[in-house]
Symmetry: C3
Subunit: 132 residues, 3 copies
């Protein structure tokens, strides 16, 4: 398992980590297999979506903020109940396919770390599973 | 990795791909392992849910349309911001368990391709990982 | 594949299954790999979130109930359309990383079974995939 350090700069933010995940896979030397990207936090997540137009990430965050407002009728008293709920919305892991020594992504896809309670120092864990 | 071609016929639609995924697993000859189903698009997704009553799929799509309307206060100018957000809601991959040469599903479960910006020609990628 | 039996006691409920999943991994003897946790139901799911403050689970369930009410304009006539939609929100599987013979979790993370149409007798399926 490899650990990637991430420094976020806003309360909510999508950080493109595609290149850093590809580097882990390339350094593993695995040509065919799968790659698990795992976020060990309860107020952050990861997702795959478009990395061509940054407005897509902005629209995802704005819609999430409308549906799950920061100030709501929450019992969790740390002021980040919305962050926990958004994390469960997006999910803590992505499982990706490796062929030819690289993660296979669609033309417009990038891998994003989703910060929902920043700014913070965060980690992403990456596990490469070879096949054949 | 195997590629499955899918032709969707509506803007939003859940397409049952259970049988086609089972065929890929059977052709692989793998008896025990896992199967990663991956959608290489940013306005489509996959999910597992009931395939007995088609009203379940209809209710999922209708509820998503209520929560994430097609016309909203979006910045992404291609008119499909809602499609990107729905894709992140559902997720781009499913990881399934293989035993006895077949994907193990619950009694009422089917695997669905989720179209959120169709009709289009789409792909699903399938990777089989054997164990033991 | 190992099966874990779960008995839920309310209509919606998050049940902490972290210890039981860790036991399956330890009994497998696998030191390094991944672990797939799979829910074979269409009105239940699994997620990873905070297990220190039970108010986090309560806030997740309350927010889901606000967004996807039990009584809505649904076509599915069994009275649990909301349960199916919540299941797709949370997802049917989690993929976790194993090192040193244990699932690696963040400091505040626990693995939860999400009941959305209980009380019922349920199952969780666990598959351990060794690497190297």
């Amino acid at each position: 398992m490899q650990r990637i350090a991430i420094k976020t700069s806003r309360r909510t933010e999508l950080v493109d980590i595609t290149r850093r995940i590809q580097e882990v896979v390339q350094q593993s030397g695995v040509k065919s297999g799968i790659c698990v990207v795992y976020v060990p936090h309860t107020t952050a997540a990861c997702t795959v979506n478009e990395n061509a137009d940054p407005d897509v990430a902005r629209d995802i965050l704005a819609t999430l903020a409308d549906l799950i407002p920061e100030s709501g009728n929450y019992r969790h008293i740390e002021g980040n109940a919305d962050s926990h709920i958004k994390a469960t919305w997006c999910g803590q892991s992505e499982t990706l396919i490796i062929e030819d020594g690289r993660i296979q992504l669609g033309r417009w896809q990038g891998i994003f770390f989703c910060e929902f309670d920043g700014p913070r120092s965060r980690e992403v864990w990456v596990k490469v599973v070879p096949t054949g």
